[in-house]
Symmetry: C2
Subunit: 421 residues, 2 copies
């Protein structure tokens, strides 16, 4: 296939996805649910094939000296494949957003207008390493009536090729167009770049992965992007913070799952609470294996901490590391957050109502919290049932995205020969 | 000012707008309404200054041999300035979208989540020739708590400089930051290009103007864009269309205001209705001064029509010209529309319920109509009170945009020491 002109081959695939998206947009919920069941069934049928392809990817990854974390994210064994299939079955039970009437009224003239949910059309997904995303994102896109074009990263190329074939064959089995699932992986980086500029065919791009990947997509794409994201997440312990809450909230936010975007990265403490709160909080963190990077005022109280650097404040560690600083006031905490926040999730621990309200009002982030763990910013926790990603941008979707965020709307206007006066 | 490094001067302005946007975001509705009244008052006070600056722009425009249409759009006399001031006063009566709770619930753990509307932040507007847009877009942005950066096109540069000063002084008069209104006009095209890439400061770009302008912004911008739009608007007269409705709807859609985006550009007629409908419809259009560009089957019935070209089908005439063709079926009409539609507004005239439903379901456009004039796609007609533009994209906003479309949301999360299980 690489012998043909890449742009022409890719455009043909994108056009096929667009054409298939028209059929998907009209598919009933029952048809789409049958497709999801078919995907789950076929995944289980082809476990051997998936695991074999994955073993080849893992071997190539080891030869290329990929890190252990990356190799673990890449790995699919039988248990993991069954878990992916089971997650697809879970999508069946979610409410189909397509066709929902969002608003509607009769105009003074008697013309009736109704705003109804419709699929976006063709969703492009650009992600790295985790081959489960191939199935996850396709399942969510299909349930919401969209076709998908996938770019899964070269490390998982063999695995993803098998998974894409599973998706296409599963659609075909239930009489829906296989062309609703396309890949650009066989064209490598050129495929990704062509996808990012395919405005005629692709309605939205959703990058999922490292800050570097997302930045590249945002900068290079002409297709509209939903930025998902990096989380340099802060928690501010105000002067009035309860010690027991502070200890539990900081530990939960930092330690429960340090590799995800809603995990805590930076802890700020009001100077009037530093002596009271820092010893128990930092003792709990260190008992959980966390490495503390701290400013001088923290280190005066807790000399075992490493010195924090300016780069640390701006870093999403995604590991058991935390940056800790003392601030003189709520204003200083707000200034620090404004400077370093990636606008994902920010939290205050306080018993001061005025400070709580100021924090909620003045912090600009997808989720702003009082006395709650930052780990709550999550589609499942918010009751969405599934999560496409967490948007850190302000347009279209902000915060955890569920199925409705994979739709647009259109206005249906019904008259009886009505003309505008 | 052009002696300084342009990028530095512009970045300083954008940063000032961002800083001011934080104050605007917290402004009460009463404060914002006072600012709007202040803008209206100051506009009227400075009518002489506005008209003088506009006369200089008009003189330069005539020297540069701008067309009569462009010169008319550029022109501001006392009556027009008063009308702009009056439109600003109208915005006072619109509901402030900021602070509206869009959704909210208690999670099973007892954590409370509320999704509330917040301003987008800094709105960049890029437009051409019509200086009234300077005031209109600033008024709507300010009411929804946003700062603005304006790029109004070189033809109106002197007029816009006066209007921007009116906006800034009006904010200052009521104690809001003048820096919430910025311009890049004094840096010409370089200013526009820098604005399009100011991701650190500008949250959204709204281009308003020609298809060429919008295409340039969509292609060059890295700031997220809301595409507003060009309308190659179709009406399909189905075999069962009522003659009286067909005549009135086509005339209203084409003739009432041919220079706007919801005006009709292409008329398609089912072959079984061509002999019945085309003579009265085309007679009415020609009586209204419309030039008919038609395919061979239309011309066989109506020899005075000019031949239609392939380019005509793809053209938004914005004039008293219409492209007319005969199609063999609803499917052929849908195919034609899919090929040439700019996804703004499409309408069918029919008495066949099945065909009406197919048209509503299968046409992909911001507004899809049955037996209604395409002129209804309009913020004021839809009851929004004001219109930021008509979005022809699928992300964030689709169709007429009111004040809520100039906002985002954030999630407020309130716990009592809640950690995630």
């Amino acid at each position: 296939m690489q012998n043909a002109e890449p742009a022409d081959v890719l455009d043909a695939r994108f056009a096929a996805a667009k054409e298939a998206s028209h059929r998907l947009a009209r598919a009933t919920t029952a048809e789409k649910d049958a497709a999801l069941q078919s995907i789950a069934d076929l995944l289980v049928e082809r476990i051997g094939q998936v695991v074999t392809a994955n073993a080849a990817d893992l071997e190539a990854g080891r030869a290329a000296e990929l890190g252990d974390g990356l190799l673990d994210r890449l790995k699919l064994d039988e248990t993991r494949v069954r878990a992916i299939a089971s997650a697809v079955v879970d999508v069946i039970s979610l409410t189909d957003p397509v066709g929902e009437t969002v608003s509607g009224r009769s105009l003074p003239s008697g013309v009736r207008i109704d705003q109804v949910r419709v699929p976006l059309g063709v969703v492009g997904a650009i992600y790295e390493a985790r081959p489960n995303v191939t199935i996850d994102i396709a399942a969510l896109a299909l349930k919401s009536g969209n076709a998908v074009v996938l770019r899964g990263g070269s490390a998982a190329e063999r695995t993803n090729a098998v998974l894409v074939q599973v998706l296409r064959d599963a659609l075909d089995r239930v009489g829906l167009p296989a062309d609703a699932v396309q890949t650009v992986d066989d064209f490598g980086r050129a495929g990704a770049q062509h996808l990012m500029r395919a405005r005629d065919f692709v309605d939205v791009l959703i990058p999922r992965g490292s800050a570097r990947l997302i930045q590249a997509v945002v900068t290079e794409a002409t297709v509209p992007v939903i930025e998902t994201g990096a989380g340099v997440v802060h928690m501010f312990l105000d002067a009035s913070a309860r010690e027991d809450w502070a200890v539990e909230l900081v530990e939960n936010a930092k330690v429960q799952r340090p590799s995800v975007c809603n995990a805590l990265e930076t802890l700020l403490v009001h100077r009037d609470a530093a002596e009271r709160l820092l010893p128990p909080v930092l003792a709990r963190l260190e008992a959980s294996g966390v490495t503390v990077h701290a400013d001088d005022r923290v280190r005066a109280l807790h000399p075992s901490a490493l010195p924090v650097t300016d780069e640390d404040w701006a870093t999403e560690h995604m590991s058991l590391d935390i940056s800790v600083g003392v601030v003189d006031s709520l204003d200083d905490a707000l200034d620090h957050i404004r400077r370093y926040s990636t606008k994902h999730t920010e939290s205050i621990v306080t018993n001061d109502l005025g400070n709580a309200e100021r924090f909620l009002n003045e912090v600009d982030a997808a989720a702003v919290m009082v006395n709650a763990s930052t780990r709550f910013t999550d589609g499942a926790e918010f009751g969405f049932g599934a999560e496409v990603g967490i948007s850190t941008q302000k347009l279209h979707a902000r915060g955890p995205m569920g199925l409705p965020q994979l739709t647009s709307t259109k206005w249906l206007v019904r008259g009886a020969g009505h003309v505008r006066a």
